[in-house]
Amino acid sequence: MSNEKVLIIDDEQDFTDALAERMTTRGMTVSTSSSAIEGLKNVEEHSFDVVVLDLQMPEMDGIETLKVLKKKKPELQVILLTGHATVEKGIEAMKLGAMDLLEKPADMTTLTEKIKKAQAQKMILVEKKSEERIKNIMESRGW
């Protein structure tokens, strides 16, 4: 059974509750945050593979949150959810490092596949980072 660690950030609590339960049934470890501020705090305090992020939220929208997330933890994978996906929004999100942009209501099979892909991508990035760190240590010691 897979064990992707996922954080859902969305201001609609009835949405996050149901989605979290469905993802948990599919073997994921899921946390939820009802605002961008709460979500960023959650990311600081815990380790996640993937963040499923709503695009339109009060206080700080999904694009702003994405920027902060990628700055703090570049290896963290972000899937954006939006009521209306447009090509412009999609391009902007990808440029900022989002893994994907899905339209609500999202199909669970598609979302699960994207999350698995995102987790695999995160593992590759973490491994690369580790290899670089080891390489740097070896070089600094003249090995």
């Binding site: 009835d14 949405f15 149901a18 339960e21 939220m57 009060p58 009521g83 209501p105 999202a106």
Partner: protein
């Protein structure tokens, strides 16, 4: 310079209609997303029941309640949008001011929520009426609201109250603790003001705006 209703509709109507349509369709999508996840959750539980896991009646009941809540929410949103769509049907009629404020707030709920501003609405004890086009009244209320909230900090509470002033003129008052932007230009809605023979009065502290109707 006086402007006709047709001129104002042609110039500003599509932009206002589009902005409200976008706000409302976003809210409907959210309702659908919640219903979709809860229907999916129910399907997950049914599959588990088919595999022999005893169904949890309380969980089912909770899911059904969440779906029903969203159906009611979506129905209210669609009703508001329908009223808005018919707001241009009559060029002039007697209008319930508080009903218009309520509808303007419902239509722009998502935009207001995204600004993290709380708008409260205090209704007059007795119904207050103005004469004119329902569409322009909504447009006027929204234009003032949007101008006021442009520079307000998140967490601010803005109150809108309807009343009769000392001269027995119907008045809509927008008030909050923080001052509004000093430049209180309302270009587009200035023309709608003409149609209601209305005027806008900004107080010295710049934290209260009164919309006073002349008709």
């Amino acid at each position: 310079m006086k402007h006709t209703a047709q001129e104002i509709i042609a110039q500003y109507g599509p932009a206002y209609f589009g902005r409200m349509g976008a706000s409302i369709s976003h809210d409907i999508k959210n309702c659908l997303a919640i219903m979709n996840e809860n229907a999916g959750l129910m399907s997950d539980h049914l599959m588990m029941a088919q595999k022999g896991v005893p169904p949890d009646i309380d969980r089912f009941s909770g899911i059904v309640q969440r779906i029903e809540k969203q159906i009611t929410r979506a129905d209210d949103i669609v009703k508001s949008f329908n009223k808005f769509s018919h707001s241009m049907d009559k060029p002039e009629q007697q209008l319930d001011l508080d009903e218009a404020v309520g509808l303007a707030l419902n239509l722009g709920a998502r935009i207001i929520a995204n600004k993290s501003i709380t708008v409260t609405h205090t209704r007059a004890a007795d119904k207050l009426y103005v004469n004119g086009s329902f569409f322009f009244l909504l447009f006027l209320i929204w234009s003032i609201l949007e101008k006021i909230t442009e520079n307000l900090a998140s967490g601010t509470v803005l109150n809108i109250s309807s009343m009769e002033d000392e001269n027995k003129q119907v008045c809509l008052s927008f008030q909050c603790e923080q001052p509004f932007a000093s430049d209180f230009g309302l270009q587009s809605s200035d023309q709608a003001l003409d149609l209601f023979q209305a005027k806008i009065v900004l107080d010295d502290q710049h934290n209260r705006v009164d919309l006073i109707f002349g008709n």
